[in-house]
């Protein structure tokens, strides 16, 4: 077993374990900290898949910004009366059945799809070129095959989200 397979196993174990911890923890602050661990392990998976730019963006945006946002909103909405800060609702049993059924259906459909089941292409290819340069060309250069318009729309979405968050969250 080579090094990449071992690191995939370790990262997958961290991912699934911390996802289960996020879902099952009684204390919501601990759940949020396990969420940060999950984001970091997902970044490792991206490195394994030769997606270095996505890995760095994952650290910056998710492990940095989103975790801080979630921790701040936990801090601002703490209810001192409740014994456990992260309670489940009465439909958790149905939710477990739905999630397990969906997981089984997805894995079963992977097994049915012969192209995927036969391992069409090794997912981890040798690092050929610098992915970041190609992504930058795709996002910014107005050629026939680029994503300039979605990129501009995404910046508009971010602007609307900033203004909307300020308007919704301010005291009146």
């Amino acid at each position: 077993m080579d090094l990449a397979s071992i690191s995939f196993l370790i990262l997958a174990a961290i991912l699934v374990g911390s996802a289960l911890a996020v879902v099952l923890m009684k204390n919501i602050v601990r759940a949020a900290l396990f969420l940060a661990a999950l984001f970091g392990a997902a970044s490792g998976i991206y490195v394994l898949l030769n997606a270095d730019f996505i890995a760095i963006v994952q650290i910056l945006v998710y492990a940095g910004a989103v975790t801080i946002l979630i921790l701040f909103s936990i801090m601002l909405t703490q209810n001192p009366n409740s014994q456990s800060s992260n309670p489940g609702n009465h439909q958790w049993f149905i939710a477990a059945i739905v999630a397990a059924g969906l997981c089984a259906a997805i894995v079963f459909s992977f097994a049915q799809n012969s192209a995927i089941a036969n391992g069409a292409g090794n997912a981890v290819t040798a690092a050929s070129t610098n992915n970041t340069v190609v992504i930058g060309n795709l996002l910014y250069s107005p050629t026939t095959y680029s994503y300039v318009l979605p990129f501009e729309i995404a910046s508009l979405v971010l602007l609307v989200a900033i203004v909307g968050a300020i308007v919704i969250g301010r005291e009146d």
Partner: protein, 107 residues
Amino acid sequence: MLLSLNSFLILGAVLFCIGLFGALSKRNAVSVLMGIEIMLNAVNITLVAFASSSTGTAHGARLTGQIFAIFIITVAAAEAAVALAMIIAIYRRRNSVDVSEINMMKW
């Protein structure tokens, strides 16, 4: 063959279902949002796995999955900011973030 496309897809599916369970079974609104973030990460892993196993030859076609992942990260960050602002506004007004008590729009 551990590093085939299949193992990454199964990892993404398992993560997605754990996140779905969290989003469906929690009463704290912030927990529901954390479940949704897990689901978005699972989809990102799936997209990047497809991108790195793609054999497209067109200019940049191999990286389309990664571009999609970047847009998902952008929209997820915007969604998290707006959702948390709404949670804080609801908490200020009702002193609770229990989603089973938030029924202002229910009839």
